[in-house]
């Protein structure tokens, strides 16, 4: 398939979206009781579950502990049935290791690690269904789980993927669009300051289009931020109401 088929002349994408349209975003917080924080994020057909444990004592020997800040420990793992082809193992392959690294770097900047010296914060991300934009959904889910756990963050970290087809920037790529060579990138920003914490582009985009694509992705991130912010405010409001009735 060549590029133009991803965006029809009428301006529709394969799944019927417009170029700048995001997929339906759903999320819920505190889905598990045992974890200190957890979130379930569904973006189109990509479903990610994130759990946060901590801050707690550093596991596996105190050698790893840092005296002035927290250790952020991440794990990215995808269910063996999450993809169309069955995966042989859920984690440990190069892609998961790379994802783990991205998550770790992103959240080491986003979490106020100085608040938790000599501690460890675990972020475990589990992909239940993969339909493109896995990294951005994983980052979004992890952010929500961190908020749910009440861990100090500089700001939300919102991520969105974008790509270029026929000079037009598409937002929030699905699996089909992602599998097209030389298209996509993922951007994560801190929405308040609009500073970029992560750009991951492992494909080829013409240099003229790069900044345009990034800008489009940033717009997408802001959209996501608005949704999340509303969600969290609603949840906090509900919790506050509960506390009031208890008193």
């Amino acid at each position: 398939m060549s590029g133009h088929q991803y965006l029809s002349e009428e301006g529709f994408r394969v799944d019927g979206r417009r170029a700048q349209e995001m997929r339906k975003l759903d999320c819920s917080l505190g889905v598990f009781a045992q974890a200190d924080g957890s979130a379930y994020v569904k973006e189109g057909n990509t479903v990610v579950l994130a759990a946060v444990y901590g801050p707690h004592e550093v596991r596996g020997g105190r050698v790893k502990a840092l005296h002035d800040r927290a250790v952020v420990n991440c794990q990215f793992s995808a269910a063996t049935f999450s993809t169309a082809e069955r995966k042989r193992r859920p984690r440990g392959d190069t892609k998961s290791v790379e994802m783990t690294l991205h998550l770790q770097q992103t959240f080491e900047t986003a979490i106020l690690t100085k608040l938790y010296p000599r501690c460890q914060i675990d972020i475990f991300v589990e992909v239940l269904q993969a339909d493109g934009s896995i990294l951005s959904v994983a980052i979004n889910a992890a952010t929500m789980a961190l908020v749910d756990a009440g861990i100090g963050l500089r700001d939300y970290v919102c991520a969105c993927s974008a790509g270029v087809f026929n000079d037009a920037a598409l937002l929030d790529l699905n699996n089909l669009e992602e599998s097209q060579k030389g298209t996509g990138l993922t951007v994560a920003i801190l929405p308040k300051t609009e500073r970029i914490v992560l750009v991951d582009m492992s494909s080829k985009i013409h240099s003229d289009h790069v900044s345009k694509t990034i800008e489009a992705a940033i717009e997408g991130c802001k959209d996501i931020h608005a949704t999340f912010d509303a969600k969290i405010k609603e949840r906090v409001g509900r919790l506050a109401a509960l506390i009031n009735t208890e008193n």
């Binding site: 759990a51 999450s82 475990f124």
Partner: protein
């Protein structure tokens, strides 16, 4: 979490409660917790289910693939289990930490499903000696709240209930080799006969009583469990003793009989839930949202 600190006095409290047939959550010794069940939880699988028993949360996805059969059984399909204990359930499981327990559960499941009396896989044969359906049953454990074997086996049975395999037509091609055609029509998909599929019923001994569906806290109080795979007709596919304790033969007999009774009742209740869940399948967002 797998490692839970339960103090001695808490243990005593639980044991005394069990003796009076009253457990911390108000159940009797032989009552299950509420089982939440959802079919079709992973739409990109041939069959899937999501089961939640209090804190125990299990997601199962079955993918059917075509492959060569086993040497030993050329005219039967295969079923393979993989249990992934995610770090979401317990940070201990990070990396390869959960593999040992996962393999143990997968092994027990394989043992329970091995006989064709309980699950007849001959309907999964496409071309004898050459190609059969292989069912990859992938089990994801998202949260641990005790009674893992039971929850996993219920989820697997539910996923098998939800399983639809595309109908295939086999014709002999020009070169004399069979050719397989997959029908595109989703309505020609076939379900699998699961009427006799067993489920695990685990009875844990707390004090002198047997207790079913233990929570994590209760599991800390028991040293020995009888884990029986009971089919809907009351037959047993496999039985094993787990845990670090030992049992007197008399209490073993008691446990086996209890397991049979509970198992039969469980299957009846499950069947009703399956039918109900199927009606709702795909129409709800799932109970995580």
């Amino acid at each position: 979490m797998a490692n839970l600190a339960v103090s001695d006095s808490e243990k005593t409290f639980i044991i005394h409660g069990v003796e009076d047939n009253l457990r911390c959550d108000g159940r009797g010794c032989l009552d299950y917790r509420h089982i939440e069940l959802e079919l079709g939880a992973a739409p990109n699988c041939s069959g899937s289910s999501h089961v939640r028993i209090a804190n125990t949360d299990v997601l199962v996805g079955i993918k059917a693939e075509i492959a060569a059969p086993d040497h030993a059984a050329p005219d039967r399909g295969r079923i393979e289990f993989f249990v992934d204990l995610t770090a979401n359930a317990d940070p201990e499981f990070e990396g390869t930490g959960g593999d040992e327990l996962g393999q143990q559960i997968a092994g027990a499941l394989a043992e329970a499903y091995v006989s064709k009396r309980f699950l007849d896989l001959s309907s999964l044969c496409i071309v004898k000696n050459q190609q059969v359906w292989v069912l990859f049953v992938d089990i994801l454990i998202l949260e641990l709240g005790g009674s893992l074997y039971d929850a996993v086996s219920i989820a697997v049975k539910a996923a098998l209930y939800d399983l639809r395999i595309p109908k295939l037509t086999v014709s002999i091609g020009e070169d004399g080799k069979p050719e397989i055609e997959v029908s595109d029509d989703p309505h020609t998909q076939e379900p699998l006969a699961i009427a006799n599929v067993p489920c695990f019923v685990t009875l844990s001994k707390i004090g002198s009583q047997f207790v079913v569906d233990v929570s994590q806290e209760e599991a800390e109080c028991s040293t020995v469990n009888m884990c029986c795979a009971i089919a809907p007709n009351g037959r047993m596919a496999t039985t094993m003793k787990t845990g670090v304790g030992s049992l007197h033969p008399d209490s073993l007999i008691e446990a086996l009989q209890l397991a049979q009774e509970i198992g039969v009742a469980l299957h009846k209740a499950l069947h009703k839930q399956f039918v109900k869940a199927q009606e709702l399948s795909g129409r709800t967002n799932g109970f995580l949202l």
